[in-house]
């Protein structure tokens, strides 16, 4: 009985993994097997990264992508296991670390076994062993948001910065970029508040944004929400308080509602990243490194601002609706 069960299981597994690859391609050239490890596998952002990685693999030809994230989103231990489990079974690794500290030692373990590692999306505290770091320049993204805000408000007015969460590095850089650029380039814009954290979910952002907007509703002209859940909650708060259009909203990262908001005067700018380029450039550069080429230490994948005016341009449409793997 139990032997039968094991046999069944074995058969089921074999059925799922029939593809037969060996280390070399049909013409005898080496096939590079690359592990690409996102922070999670369910978010749309990562599906676009996956798309970009597969694009690069297709272009190069002799590259096979093994796409695998932690079983749960935000599962650090899970991601550490995935990283370690690939030791010996891939030729290179592309990783978006869930945590800048906890992944340092697993990455060094992998590199010590002779597998080159390229980091993307979020930084690692110790960069001494990695090939390169491919990511959005978040400070620059924040600066773009500040310039867009200055443009909408014609250089004067009162704005609120709604921060994301304590200890999140990427959003902290966006916040700094926003504040410093406003201060330098738009001296007549007054910052009403920049010390409130909206939390990680649209729900917590909604209640925080409501409190803030209600407190300052007679003075505030613009609000910057530094990431997608944050902006989703803020947009809802503006709607609830009947402030859409009156208070200008600049968001970071799109979702369907924010994109729709560009058309009905409730969203006035969305700072965009390029996840497809992130996946694409990561794979390209890792392969280049493995073939002995020099690779830059830090590669910027670009930041863009979508506005009601430019949103129909082809490039903006691509970034607002990035292609996803498996579509």
């Amino acid at each position: 009985m139990k032997r039968f069960a094991v046999l069944l299981l074995a058969l089921a597994l074999f059925g799922c993994s029939e593809a037969n690859h060996s280390g070399t391609g049909p013409n005898g050239e080496k096939i590079y097997r690359l592990a690409v490890i996102p922070k999670g596998t369910t978010h749309e952002f990562w599906k676009s990264v996956h798309y970009g990685a597969e694009q690069a693999a297709k272009e190069i030809g002799n590259v096979e992508i093994v796409w695998r994230g932690p079983q749960l989103e935000n599962d650090r231990k899970g991601q550490i296991s995935v990283v370690q489990n690939f030791i010996g079974s891939v030729d290179g690794m592309v990783l978006a670390p869930l945590d800048s500290q906890a992944l340092v030692s697993p990455v060094s373990q992998v590199v010590d076994q002779g597998i080159p590692v390229l980091i993307f999306d979020s930084g690692l505290n110790d960069t001494s062993k990695i090939v390169s770091y491919v990511a959005t320049d978040n400070y620059k993204g924040g600066a773009l948001a500040a310039r867009r805000m200055g443009e909408i408000l014609n250089g004067e007015g009162d704005v609120i910065l709604l921060r994301y969460n304590e200890g999140s590095e990427s959003t902290q850089q966006r916040e700094e970029g926003f504040l410093e650029t406003l201060k330098e380039e738009f001296p007549n814009i007054n910052i009403l508040s920049s010390d409130q954290y909206a939390g990680t979910t649209p729900q917590s952002s909604l209640s925080k944004a409501k409190q803030m907007l209600d407190t300052f509703k007679n003075e505030v002209d613009g609000i910057f929400a530094v990431c997608e859940p944050n902006a989703a909650g803020t947009l809802q708060a503006l709607k609830d308080l009947n402030l859409t259009g009156k208070v200008k909203l600049v968001a970071f990262d799109p979702n369907a509602e924010l994109v729709a908001g560009l058309s009905n005067d409730s969203v006035h700018g969305i700072v965009l990243q390029d996840p497809v380029a992130m996946g694409y450039k990561s794979v390209k550069n890792l392969i280049a490194h493995m073939q002995g080429e020099e690779v830059e230490q830090r590669i910027d994948t670009g930041e863009f601002v979508a506005t009601p005016e430019n949103k129909d341009e082809e490039r903006m449409q691509e970034l607002l609706h990035p292609p996803q793997f498996g579509e």
Partner: protein
């Protein structure tokens, strides 16, 4: 108490059936032998599958086998404690968040410069207190453990967030975390002893102690009695509330140790890192032949169960199976294990 000793099956005294059949009758799930067989089969399967699919043989290397052991040790330590609870007919759903709380306590005291000599004992103490709280609530409120620990699961998560200020507690790795602790469960060459990381040796030592405890101590008789039939145990004069508090506190010690392992692995403490861990811990015990009806469970089985979970994860990664198939595979194995267990129970009752 039925399962501590293998019941001699009636057929053994007769000349028929043949030796092979007798051998299979003897393979008792409560002894862990059958699970070991399944583990070896699954490992063989992954070795072959990896070679067929990718043309590589990295699964069956000693490096990988030791690495899986060190990955499994956090779950395994906690699962040993859970085995004691499950033998006593209880359950502890709070184990995941309690581990994370212990890890956070460890990180917090290190960050505040108290040193490992203070931080580690307090980590273990936190685990014991968490367990004792569970035991007391279960005994005094007379509510089933499932509900109580569902409550304390959230309670420990909240306390962890309070302590950490809702963020990740990061002691400075070079100056505040002792070298032995940050390398406790990793396979890096300079800290291993006879090829195994100290964390795996510690796990094995604790497993031996737990085995001896379950086999020879008087207290373990009470635990088996409690799990087999609580009212009979009461009639036999066992102090049920005290036994429950003591056994949950004992399991809490294992949770504290698991918290230390977790900290060593992540080199930081976050109260949310344990969410979902309880399911893996319980799965390890169940795969290992522990019965949620109480009265049954072994150290060997639990160790194999914990290892199996990581073997499946590792093997699926090596083959390059997508995430959803790993989840499905693990689910199938858990259900298979429980189904076999039920089948065996019925067979025992018939004979």
């Amino acid at each position: 108490m039925s399962s501590k000793e293998t019941k001699p099956s009636p057929s053994e005294s007769t000349t028929e059936p043949g030796a092979l059949r007798r051998f299979f009758r003897r393979i008792d799930f409560s002894k862990g032998l059958a699970q070991f067989g399944v583990l070896v089969l699954i490992m063989l399967f992954f070795s072959v599958a990896e070679w067929l699919v990718t043309g590589r043989t990295s699964f069956s290397t000693s490096f990988n086998i030791i690495m899986m052991a060190s990955q499994a040790s956090t779950i395994a330590i906690a699962a040993l404690g859970m085995t004691i609870i499950i033998i006593a007919g209880g359950i502890d759903l709070s184990v995941g968040t309690a581990i994370a709380l212990c890890g956070t306590v460890c990180a917090w005291f290190l960050r505040e410069d108290y040193g490992a000599a203070v931080a580690i004992p307090l980590t273990l103490l936190t685990g014991v207190v968490c367990g004792a709280v569970n035991g007391m609530l279960i005994s005094f409120l007379r509510v089933v453990p499932f509900i109580i620990t569902l409550g304390t699961m959230s309670l420990f998560l909240g306390i962890g967030k309070l302590l950490s200020g809702s963020t990740t507690v990061r002691p400075d790795e070079s100056s505040q975390v002792p070298h032995w602790l940050s390398n406790f469960a990793t396979t890096s060459a300079d800290t291993t002893i006879l090829g195994l990381p100290p964390g795996v040796w510690t796990l094995l030592a604790i497993a031996v102690l737990t085995y001896l405890f379950l086999r020879y101590s008087v207290f373990s008789r009470y635990i088996f009695a409690l799990g087999s039939n609580e009212s009979t145990a009461r009639l036999c004069g066992i102090n049920i509330p005290l036994t429950k508090i003591a056994l949950y506190a004992l399991a809490g010690f294992f949770v504290g140790l698991a918290g230390m392992y977790q900290f060593s692995e992540l080199s930081e403490g976050s109260p949310t890192d344990g969410v979902g861990l309880e399911l893996k811990v319980i799965a390890a015990v169940v795969i290992g032949g522990g019965s949620l009806n109480g009265g049954r469970g072994t150290v060997q089985g639990t160790l194999i169960g914990s290892y199996l979970i990581f073997v499946i994860d590792n093997g699926c990664t090596k083959i390059g199976l997508p995430n959803h198939l790993t989840d499905i595979t693990l689910g199938v194995i858990i259900i298979t294990a429980v189904a076999i267990d039920q089948w065996r129970q019925r067979r025992l009752e018939r004979s």
